[in-house]
């Protein structure tokens, strides 16, 4: 078995193991971290495939740049869109009516029970 084939085999084995790990993890409730964990594992798997199966590891810098660039741009797309969804409920907000930062706007008459909270 040449070195190359050995690398492939090892990577393949790791990939299978990681897949098992995600399935295992998804059966265990770890709250909000489920998504983060599965995504982390998926990313590791993808990186392994890119680096070794797709030979980026020993490719010229330009290939690194293209592969990396696509990830960066994907993050721009996701990141700046999620800034919107993540901050829609903040106050003052033309849309949501979830007062978070500011006092109640909906009820003109102050509510006795609420005063203490401010």
């Amino acid at each position: 078995m040449s070195a190359q084939v050995r690398t492939y085999t090892i990577i393949f084995a790791i990939l299978l193991a990681l897949m098992g790990a995600t399935i295992f993890a998804s059966f265990h409730h770890i709250g909000r971290f489920n998504l983060a964990l599965t995504m982390l594992i998926a990313t590791i798997k993808a990186v392994l495939v890119v680096l070794f199966f797709m030979h980026v590891w020993d490719s010229p810098r330009l290939t690194w740049l293209t592969a990396g660039g696509s990830v960066v741009w994907l993050l721009i797309l996701l990141g700046l869109t999620f800034t919107d969804y993540g901050t829609r409920d903040w106050k003052p907000n033309p849309l949501g009516t979830h007062p978070v930062l500011l006092p109640e706007l909906e009820s003109p008459t102050p509510q006795p029970g609420k005063e203490a909270g401010h």
């Binding site: 660039g69 700046l80 869109t81 919107d84 903040w90 033309p94």
Partner: protein, 547 residues
């Protein structure tokens, strides 16, 4: 041999330029030799003809609705009006301006400018033209079958659920054309990376190549996203899956995010190549090296990168979070900086130059002035509070026509005039050309300046019925549009005329520096008889200082 020597016309050429015996135009004549050509120059010409066709369709639509807008209560049916401006927007953006410079001038010139025999993937290049034509055919079909009325922005849920026009066919057309644009971009990127002639280092590239390179980055990174957005609209429309319709569970704002993620960068697809053209024109006609060459080159790339960070400025009042609005407003201001770098450097290029007022320079100067106004009004729009008022009014219409028509179309025309002798081997009639350049400038300002005022007065866009008070300004605008229309017809006529009667131009009629001027006009099929070796800097005009 210095650059200057190479570019000096030989005595024989000075005497009486004549066309070379064999060149890409006369090498073969059969229809197949055009329709199946893999020669980037011929494909460039195919594109030239097709985009001109679509420009006139879009222009005709504009003429019709400008006529309608002369009176407050129009003659047209509301539906017809809506279909007209949608047709106008779609053809002008997707079928004219996006391919205009990259696919015509870029296609023709980039390989020659870097000393290559062709683009890296000639067959892909041809495929890209065919995809464009197929997409165009869908659009023509839609136009003839009854039109589409969503506006070029396709906002959901109107486009996905409510409109009962030909949204699907239009979507398919734009999807396909999107791939044409991706392929062009990909081809240019690979070509610039891998096909440069010996000695043609990155910093010896003409700025036209730099700006098209930046444009191609946007095409490759952005276009797929609009493709998927449109595909999702089609899926929603076809199967009733509520991806963007709130009644079916979706969020219409999400569509706007996806759409503008591409369509904002797309406006730089439309302006960056024009900036490249202007760099060439300014250098040639002031016989100077472009001032701050590296800054201008990097500014192109900076614009390409920043362009992906500002899309939300189209959505300030759409219902996105206002914090998001602030982020996008801030980022939008940043993009003024590389634009400013370019404007100031072009201006400085003229300093201590040797300026000749040939038609291309007139267009270039027009570009710089109108782009400055258009760009500055862009800042009005990214300043949140002002945008609240002028969003979706004629102020926006004026803003983008200043850049796209006043800017890019001018630069495009300037480029066409400048390289016309290279493409056809013949000169155009200079006097006519100058007259029409001035007419374009006048007609343009008369058409679109009143729209700024209209916009701040509050006339919403996409309105065909409007309060009486707006009429005077609208009539001015329509009058300007008819001047502009004529001004665009002139070049059509005299350029066609020159194909037969223009006097042979010679290899380097402008006495310019650049590989494209070192080969014959028109160039041979393989561009150069011998692979050129580049041993001088870009724009190395005598007396220019090279850093």
């Amino acid at each position: 041999m210095s650059a200057e020597d190479k570019n000096q016309p030989t005595a024989a050429q000075l005497a009486a330029p004549s066309l070379p015996k064999k060149h890409y135009l006369n090498s073969r004549y059969s229809p197949g030799s055009w329709l199946l050509t893999k020669d980037h120059k011929r494909i460039g010409l195919l594109y030239l003809m097709s985009i001109t066709f679509f420009f006139f369709i879009g222009g005709a639509a504009a003429v019709l609705f400008r006529l309608e807008l002369m009176t407050p209560q129009g003659e047209l049916q509301p539906d017809t009006y809506n279909k007209l401006f949608t047709l106008h927007g779609i053809t002008m953006v997707f079928f004219f301006l996006i391919p205009a410079i990259p696919a015509v001038l870029g296609n023709f010139l980039i390989p020659i400018m870097i000393g290559a025999r062709d683009l890296a993937f000639p067959r892909l290049n041809l495929l890209s033209w065919y995809l464009y034509m197929v997409g165009g055919a869908f659009t023509i079909y839609v136009m003839l079958a009854g039109g589409v009325d969503t506006g070029w922005t396709f906002y959901t849920p109107y486009s996905s659920t409510y409109s009962n026009t030909y949204v699907m066919a239009t979507a398919v057309g734009i999807f396909i054309t999107g791939f044409s644009s991706i392929l062009t971009g990909l081809n240019i990127l690979v070509t610039v990376h891998k096909m440069r002639a010996p000695g043609m280092t990155w910093f010896r590239l003409p700025l036209f190549v730099w700006s098209n390179y930046a444009t191609s980055l946007i095409m490759v990174l952005g276009t797929p996203v609009v493709a998927i957005a449109i595909l999702l609209v089609a899926i929603e429309r076809g199967f009733g899956i509520g991806i963007f319709d709130p009644r079916l569970g979706g969020d219409p704002i999400l569509f706007q995010h996806l759409f503008w993620f591409y369509s904002h960068p797309a406006v730089y697809i439309m302006v960056l190549p024009a900036m490249g053209v202007v760099s060439e024109l300014v250098a040639t006609f002031s016989r100077n090296r472009v001032f701050g060459y590296r800054f201008v080159a990097f500014a192109s790339v900076a614009i390409a990168v920043l362009s992906f960070l500002v899309w939300g400025h189209h959505m300030f009042v759409s219902g996105q979070s206002i914090y998001e609005g602030m982020v996008f407003s801030f980022l939008s201001f940043l993009i003024a900086i590389p634009s400013a770098i370019k404007v100031f450097n072009w201006t400085a290029t003229l300093y201590k130059g040797t300026v000749t007022f040939d038609t291309p320079l007139l267009y270039a100067a027009g570009f710089i002035g109108l782009f400055t106004v258009g760009g500055m009004t862009g800042l009005f729009l990214s300043a949140l509070a002002v945008d609240v008022h002028v969003h979706d009014t004629y102020f926006i219409v004026a803003h983008f026509h200043y850049i796209m028509v006043g800017g890019t179309v001018m630069a495009y025309l300037g480029g066409i005039h400048y390289w016309w002798p290279k493409m056809t081997g013949r000169m155009y009639p200079e006097l006519w050309a100058r007259i029409s350049a001035v007419l374009v400038f006048v007609g343009f300002n008369l058409t679109f300046f009143p729209q700024f005022i209209l916009g701040y007065l509050g006339m919403p866009r996409r309105y065909h019925v409007y309060p009486d008070g707006f009429q005077v300004l609208n009539v001015m605008s329509s009058a300007g549009a008819s001047i502009l229309g004529f001004a665009y017809l002139f070049p059509m006529c005299y350029l066609l005329w020159s194909l037969k009667y223009g006097k042979p131009a010679g290899d380097n009629p402008w006495n310019a520096i650049g590989l494209e001027w070192q080969t014959t006009s028109p160039p041979p099929t393989e561009n150069f008889t011998k692979t050129p070796i580049v041993d001088y800097e870009a724009y190395a005009y005598p007396g220019s200082i090279i850093h």
